[in-house]
Homo-oligomer: 434 residues x 2
Amino acid sequence: MNPVEIIKAKKNNKSLRKEEIQYFINGYLNGEVADYQMSAFLMAVCFNGMSDEETFYLTETMLKSGRTVDLSHIKFPKVDKHSTGGVGDKTSLILAPLVASCEIAVPMISGRGLGHTGGTLDKLESIRGFNFNLSVEEYIRIIDKNNLVMSGQTDELCPADKKIYALRDVTSTIDNTSLITASIMSKKLAEGADSIVFDVKVGTGANLGDYDKCMELSGKLLSIAKKFNKKAIAILTDMNIPLGKKIGNWFEVEECIEVMNGADIPDLLKVNNILAGAMIYLAGKTDSIESGENIAMEKIRNGSAYNKFLETVEIQNGDVNYIMDFLHYKRPEYTYSFNATQDGFITKMDALNIGLASVELGAGRKRYTDVIDPLAGIIFKKVFGDRIMKDDIICELYSSSPQKISEAVKYIREAIEISPIEMPKRKLIIDIIK
Amino acid sequence: MNPVEIIKAKKNNKSLRKEEIQYFINGYLNGEVADYQMSAFLMAVCFNGMSDEETFYLTETMLKSGRTVDLSHIKFPKVDKHSTGGVGDKTSLILAPLVASCEIAVPMISGRGLGHTGGTLDKLESIRGFNFNLSVEEYIRIIDKNNLVMSGQTDELCPADKKIYALRDVTSTIDNTSLITASIMSKKLAEGADSIVFDVKVGTGANLGDYDKCMELSGKLLSIAKKFNKKAIAILTDMNIPLGKKIGNWFEVEECIEVMNGADIPDLLKVNNILAGAMIYLAGKTDSIESGENIAMEKIRNGSAYNKFLETVEIQNGDVNYIMDFLHYKRPEYTYSFNATQDGFITKMDALNIGLASVELGAGRKRYTDVIDPLAGIIFKKVFGDRIMKDDIICELYSSSPQKISEAVKYIREAIEISPIEMPKRKLIIDIIK
């Protein structure tokens, strides 16, 4: 087979055969297909798409490019959650220990943040000592003992995905739903879960903001999951506004600790609980997502979620004292209060611009090689819909440099709108697709 | 500027600004833009196209990426011809010396063949000793003295085009008319001609076979030529059937020598003369292409074209004895006669399959690194429209290996059709666009 002919076929909107997809992906791993050929191919896919069959073969080939974790010896159901990425999206840190405290195993492999969206690994990294660079053997040992493991992607799992993902990022070929599906599903299938809940973010702060595209992605994720005999639910949630009141890596860990200790952050709790509820439901512990949600709330109230969180930090070498004493953890050197310029209601709190502000502060990356400041971030004192008075603090920005703060303020100014007329409440849970 | 943002803009069908095009092309030359980013960009251009303005800036940037030859000291008008490539397309070897014998300077930079189409350089290379690897200084010295220079593309002219062209070839991003226009025009503008005649090939054996695409390309070529104050004419000629009776590098040189010595090959002469006529007309030597054609015919008849050809071979270090004695030049070791299986008329002689057959024989390349056999090729004894009897020889295949011949025969079988009903004559000259 010839790489140029395969690129040409996709460019001419032909469906690729299984063997062609296998040749192209495996060829990329072994060097027969050059990176400039892969990127031309990916761009052609962005224009012409892939059929469900092609997406299946792509997923399968990427899955088989590495090892697969076998968790069949674990007697509990094994459920994971995956989010397509948003701003302030920290639910993994709450729902993973929560669900793991329900006699459900949670094998979770996460990624780093890029652009305006955050990543679970960066948040975990802000916990002193926390180790997520696990071999497959350590990964299995931890989930066996703890019911939960929070890991980075090892080189052994889906190496083809890892190599292709890095290329997509620098060639503007991120937003095709088949490529996204194959990337997500190959990893999820490799990690050993039986069931998966997808949090598909919709809105300005999401990676794939458009509702129709999110529906298309959800359909593909569920269809591929089904073909691999995995149970799955996709929940479309709003990401026009950040989730919760804190943004930044350590800030988000903090907010999760607060929530697991009883703090009431309604939007964060709602999204967390419905995702956890869906996981509990898929695990067969309840007969509906709603009763799963009730269990989730109870597990937070009775401290089970928080205890499992502490156990997980401990088993993955994190410093538990550091978590217990979280309020005394130092803040960045520079801070800035962003105040209301008039009386009214907060009618806009744009997640994209707030995400970009947090990147400027040092909480995120523009390039994969950028180094993150785990302490930088934003704390909101007021949220969408709140009534405020002139000079009220809307949010506080934290950074290690005043220049970074002044860059971030420009984005915050774009993000916030105050108006005399109250806006209708946002619809947080947009769709549930089984 | 950021390469990813520029790729994204083109992917989202936005027009690029002059500065963005300059940054991206120059960045590719100096390493700021990676080859995998360029190939993703090229693929996006294949889908979304480029406006006339973008095509102009692309051409200008590629032109300015290297040196420009200044031929303003030459008192004669300076005219070149460019063909978009076909099978048996050997007119350059006849019309260039022909036009140069009319007090017109012909600065000609040619390329190598790829895929099923041939290239002038490969044909010239089959002439013992012929040197077309010229520095700009040698190039100017030769045209000053000889009125004609036949050169390969030096590294000094349009290095951006050279680098991008090599990438397009291996990423299936050849067939966009803006990319083709910028590639052709940047080279033509760099070589120093005042006027250019384009031979735009239409049909199965052309690189861009579709009539509408050829019209689009012709329009862009003329529009860019005009913007750079060059006179230009595009002539669309048929390439469903090979041009002339001989295909292969030395075979085609042979056929040109024969034609310049009076052989009557009607289709080759017609295309050659109209292109030469258009060059003579653009040079201001006549008031119509038709009168230019008459001059062309006369220059062949009176030996001027052939004499200039011999002078050019000599000044570029080719062995003239070898040309004079061309019929004694050895043939390849293996030969095969492809005979008619029935009585009738030749109603199909598909240029694409015949081109592919010649590649199999060793006359062409599948990859740039393939080595050509200058002697391999095909000689047609019968042509399209001829009446033939069963067992008549249609063509003879020549190669250094019987395996290559048997591969080639498969393509010839696909190419030729014999039918009891005569087909109408082909329209050789499809359109003339000024």
